[in-house]
């Protein structure tokens, strides 16, 4: 195999952090190189250097054997490097074709040559098996297809090295499989791919070669044939990692959350939650499995007072909270880890300390009358930062400066440090690395063991299967099945999530009594 890209001794320092420490990396032609590492290990920094968004302090980049000076994305594109960003850079009201040609338009005189552009897009799509309608509006496309548009954009600019930054973070399991097929067809056609991720299963399933980064250094290189999940996890984190959650059987007490025939509308006024009935008892974890967009978001919002119910009732600890305000529900002892931490759970421009008291700021000791007690807030922040091991330069640092995992730890620290009876955790580990996932899982089980009821919503089937004591499968706004994780297989739940019926199990079992 011939190397198409070589990084030698790349070093990049940020104030206080060595993000990349003499990294050597080689990409061969026609291979899928997985770059594995925890959040903050330096993967993204390295790729941003390669793509010209940052400039390295030291080290050289060689492309096809020649030294390359990349100081802007334009240079990178000219060298045949393309980047598929984790968050898509698309203009939703424009069509697929328009998005693809944006910035590199095919023109006829001063007009956009739509027909020729659409033909190019279709050619690319056909060559690499990227099924996309060139004339569809991007706003109407599902996430998986939007990602294909991003890939076409890169290919349109004639990239032969593709950097994919956490491409599966936003995809459903089915979409992930489709993406893998696409990536394989890309390398079959002679492209080379750097696949950035922290998901071990994906790495083993897809990569030709794996390079593991930790704290800015290359700590290992291997192939899927030579390694195992546990080995990779240990390499990433630096010590052996518990991949499965160990927990005692649930000790169940009273019903904490009692949902009866709850119906909720979504933003477009369609029925998103359709007569859902559900109980969560203290001391158990009830998982809600389902492909994203089957009403889980709306259900959680209704339970936490963020979205009105059209019918049905919600009782928490026996009190009717169907129409209660979010604050009243919080004060009932409900903690909520929201699905989208940056949009709902944090005020990014606020310091860590303020975010840690965002729903308790008005209660003693944080406030006396209307005066906020800065000392008490700071003390609380220092305690929680230490206790929950939030890696932050200081409690006055805006949360926006923290990595995703540490942002999530801020939320977990805030929600778990209150005396709570019910925990509603929506995708609590979305986008987090192995170490953080393990940590958050342990904390959730800890809360359960303390007697709190836990409602866990996650599209990650593994997470639901390993954490839950009971699993409710949600499909199109209904709870189609209530099962125990030890009684079903992954495949059976997968089928239920896809809307299949399993005759004998369709009747939900009663909550466990002991």
């Amino acid at each position: 195999m011939t190397s198409i890209l070589e990084l030698r001794g790349i070093t990049k320092t940020f104030p206080g952090v060595v993000a990349n420490d003499h990294i050597d990396l080689t990409l061969n032609k026609g291979e899928i190189l997985a770059l594995l590492g925890e959040n903050g290990a330096g993967k993204t920094t390295l790729m941003n250097i390669l793509y010209g968004l940052y400039t390295q302090d030291e080290g050289d980049i060689y492309i096809r054997g020649e030294q390359a000076h990349i100081v802007s994305p334009t240079d990178a594109i000219r060298q045949g490097i393309g980047m598929v960003h984790q968050h898509f850079m698309l203009v939703p009201p424009l069509t697929v074709t328009e998005n693809v040609v944006l910035g590199d338009e095919l023109t006829r005189g001063m007009f956009l040559d739509r027909r020729r552009a659409a033909r190019r897009v279709r050619e690319i799509a056909d060559t690499y098996g990227l099924a996309v309608d060139p004339d569809a509006l991007v706003s109407t496309l599902p996430v998986g297809v939007q990602q294909r548009v991003e890939i076409i954009k890169v290919l349109y600019r004639q990239a032969d090295m593709l950097i994919m930054d956490e491409p599966t973070a936003v995809l459903t399991p089915q979409e992930v499989q489709d993406l893998f097929t696409i990536v394989r067809s890309l390398v079959d056609q002679g492209k080379s791919v750097i696949f950035i991720t922290h998901k071990l299963k994906e790495v083993l399933a897809l990569a030709d070669r794996i390079v593991v980064l930790r704290q800015g250094r290359v700590v290992g290189e291997t192939t899927p044939q030579e390694t195992t999940e546990a080995e990779l996890a240990a390499m990433m984190v630096g010590h052996a990692v518990e991949l499965t959650v160990t927990k005692e059987p649930a000790v169940v007490n009273d019903v904490v959350l009692d949902v009866q025939d709850l119906s909720v509308l979504d933003d477009r006024h369609n029925l998103a939650v359709d007569e859902v009935t559900l109980q969560v008892c203290g001391g158990e974890i009830v998982g809600i499995a389902g492909v994203q967009g089957n009403g889980q978001t709306e259900l959680v919002e209704a339970l936490t007072g963020l979205r009105p119910a059209v019918s049905g009732s919600v009782r928490i600890l026996g009190d009717d909270v169907t129409a209660a305000s979010p604050r009243a529900i919080i004060e009932q002892g409900v903690a909520h880890v929201p699905e989208d931490r940056q949009r709902d759970g944090l005020v990014l421009s606020f310091p860590v300390a303020d975010n840690l008291v965002i729903n308790t700021y008005y209660i003693e000791p944080f406030a006396r009358g209307i005066a906020i007690q800065g000392d008490a807030v700071a003390r609380q922040a220092r305690n929680l930062v230490e206790q929950f091991d939030v890696r932050t330069p200081g409690i006055e640092t805006p949360v926006a400066m923290l990595s995703g995992g540490n942002q999530q730890k801020v939320i977990v620290a805030r929600e778990f440090s209150r005396p709570i009876r019910l925990l509603i955790a929506s995708q609590p580990t979305r986008g987090l690395d192995v170490g953080s996932i393990e940590y958050i899982h342990q904390r959730i089980v800890e809360k359960r063991d303390e007697g709190a009821g836990v409602l866990l919503v996650s599209p990650e089937l593994d997470e639901v299967m390993s954490l839950s004591d009971r699993i409710a499968v949600m499909y199109k706004g209904h709870i189609v099945a209530m099962v125990r994780p030890d009684e079903v297989t992954r495949e059976e739940i997968g089928l239920l999530m896809a809307g299949a019926e399993i005759g004998e199990r369709s009747a939900p079992p009663a909550p466990p009594t002991d």
């Binding site: 940020f14 104030p15 206080g16 952090v17 993204t44 941003n48 968004l53 940052y54 960003h85 984790q86 968050h87 898509f88 850079m89 930054d165 930790r214 704290q215 250094r217 700590v219 630096g238 936490t304 963020l306 305000s325 979010p326 604050r327 009243a328 529900i329 919080i330 004060e331 909520h336 929201p338 949009r343 709902d344 759970g345 944090l346 005020v347 990014l348 421009s349 606020f350 965002i358 729903n359 700021y361 008005y362 406030a367 209307i370 005066a371 906020i372 800065g374 220092r382 930062v385 230490e386 091991d389 939030v390 890696r391 932050t392 330069p393 200081g394 409690i395 006055e396 926006a400 400066m401």
Partner: protein
């Protein structure tokens, strides 16, 4: 394996603890860094305004294109005059258009083209007749023949303009010094006139502080209050009503009551768009603008109807009772009144409210991320209404303050364009009370100085508006300043939000 151990060493267990408080030095620098851009923006705006002053000044333009010199024999003043001998070296054979020459006993004006042969003579013809220049004729030199003169003219123009601005805004230093000397010698009569300019600047800054705070508070809560102008009017109306309709109260009750009426009236006026936004989603920018027009019309109607001064024809309100006047702190002509301290107190109060109370915490949270605020149990509706009430109230207090401290009644042409200036002030002050106070002081001094500049140096007041506008542009687009002065970003690249990260929020 040894690789791993070295890595373990790099994360000592106390890693988090020792860096949790930023070192004091960095905090101070951070604070100065905040000021650096505004100061450079102001300096740059002054320099550019200077260029405007130069290119709009006829004398300076003349000086740079052609420097006028009188030809003089005998030669006395080298600045304005030039000897005939020297002049001939520059212009060996010239008569200037517009000169009058004597031809055959007739006085003829030298022109380019002859329209009236009885009174005019063509330039060429005149030259033929008078091959030499005469004493007293003005000739023009190129700028490069004598650059000092051109530069001196330019410098003088700038110095006169900015000198007048400074004297008008702060005072004449020599005069102040003389007044203080006289005062120490036992004669305080010179003090009021010497200090008049600076006190006028503070008087002008007072409403600026209040309207700036109004808009800044709105910004913090994520609301764009364009209605400060209308709220200023309504505050004036409600306060003046309490000021003239109630008689016989002691000052200690009447004055606060009047000011409070201004705050509450304008507060309610401002809260309406807040309520509309929270309940119906109607955008506050549109609604506050609309409320402005309603306020103007309401004020016109009230002042020419129910609130019109009895026995007069002008649409003005009756005069407020003396017990509702803010006390003047110095003898006439100094108009400096207690309102300035009231405004400073409001700034302190807003600062405390925003950054040290639960109310401010909620306002700022709602402003920074309404979804997270709702998630945290805060009421968006209540906070929008409250923010707009407070914002309107501050603008209303500016109106009440101007009536109570300066005018004593409500005229129909009440405002001096505070509505738009207030947005500029809030931007310039970065929505921080301290910043707003500084920005208001700057605007107040500029406004006061501009009047003097116009009268003393014939520089139009508009130059000051251009200057203010440039300050705003540089503040709103700090990249211009960074590029001009080759400044680097404060936090280095680590603070740079990449597009991929930005798309998340």
């Amino acid at each position: 394996m040894d690789q791993e151990t070295t890595l373990q060493e790099r994360t000592p267990p106390e890693e988090g603890r020792d860096v949790r408080r930023p070192p004091r030095r960095r905090r101070v620098w951070g604070w100065l860094g905040e000021l650096l851009i505004p100061i450079l923006a102001i300096v740059t705006a002054f320099v550019l305004s200077g260029v405007f002053i130069l290119i709009t000044d006829v004398q300076v333009v003349n000086a740079f294109t052609r420097i006028p010199r009188r030809v003089a024999v005998p030669f006395t003043d080298p600045e304005d005059e030039i000897s005939l001998e020297e002049a001939l070296r520059y212009h060996p054979n010239e008569v200037i258009v517009g000169d009058t020459v004597e031809v055959d006993g007739r006085m003829l004006r030298v022109v380019e083209e002859v329209d009236d042969p009885d009174a005019e003579i063509a330039l060429e013809e005149a030259r033929a007749l008078f091959p030499e220049l005469r004493d007293g004729v003005t000739i023009y030199l190129d700028f490069f023949d004598k650059p000092q003169t051109g530069l001196r003219t330019a410098w003088n123009a700038i110095r006169t303009a900015y000198g007048a601005l400074f004297e008008g805004a702060i005072g004449d230093p020599a005069r102040i010094a003389a007044a203080i000397r006289a005062w120490l010698a036992g004669d305080p009569s010179g003090l009021p006139t010497a200090f008049y300019p600076i006190t006028e600047s503070l008087v002008a800054a007072t409403p600026y502080i209040l309207v700036g705070l109004a808009v800044a508070l709105g910004f913090r809560a994520g609301l764009f209050n364009i209605g400060a102008e209308g709220q200023y009017f309504v505050g004036g109306l409600t306060s003046v009503f309490v000021g003239y309709s109630i008689q016989g109260l002691p000052l200690i009750i009447h004055l606060p009551l009047m000011l409070l009426a201004g705050v509450v009236g304008a507060g309610i006026w401002g809260a309406i768009p807040g309520l509309l936004k929270a309940t119906t989603g109607a955008h506050e920018v549109i609604n506050t603008i609309m409320m402005n027009y309603i306020a103007f019309a309401l004020s016109d109607w009230l002042l020419s109807g129910p609130m019109m001064r009895p026995g007069g024809f002008r649409p003005i309100s009756p005069a407020i009772a003396p017990s509702a006047m803010l006390p003047r702190l110095f003898p006439s002509p100094i108009r400096f009144h207690a309102g300035f301290f009231l405004a400073l107190a409001c700034a302190a109060l807003v600062y405390w409210l925003l950054f040290h109370t639960t109310i401010g915490f909620e306002l700022r949270t709602v402003g920074a991320n309404p979804r997270a605020a709702r998630y945290a149990g805060m009421s968006i509706t209540r906070n929008y209404v409250l923010a707009m009430f407070l914002s309107g109230g501050l603008a209303g207090l500016a109106g009440a303050n101007d009536i109570s401290g300066l005018i004593g009644y409500m005229p129909n042409a009440f405002s001096a364009g505070y509505g738009f200036d207030s947005i500029a002030l809030a931007l310039l002050g970065r929505s921080h009370p301290v910043g707003v106070v500084l920005a208001a002081l700057l605007f107040g001094t500029l406004r006061t100085g501009a009047t003097r500049m116009q009268s003393a140096a014939q520089i139009p007041v508009d130059i000051i508006e251009i200057l203010q506008a440039m300050v705003i542009i540089f503040i709103a687009a700090p990249e211009i300043i960074r590029a001009l002065y080759c400044l680097r970003r404060q936090r280095g690249e680590a603070g740079r939000v990449l597009p991929s990260e930005g798309a998340a929020s």
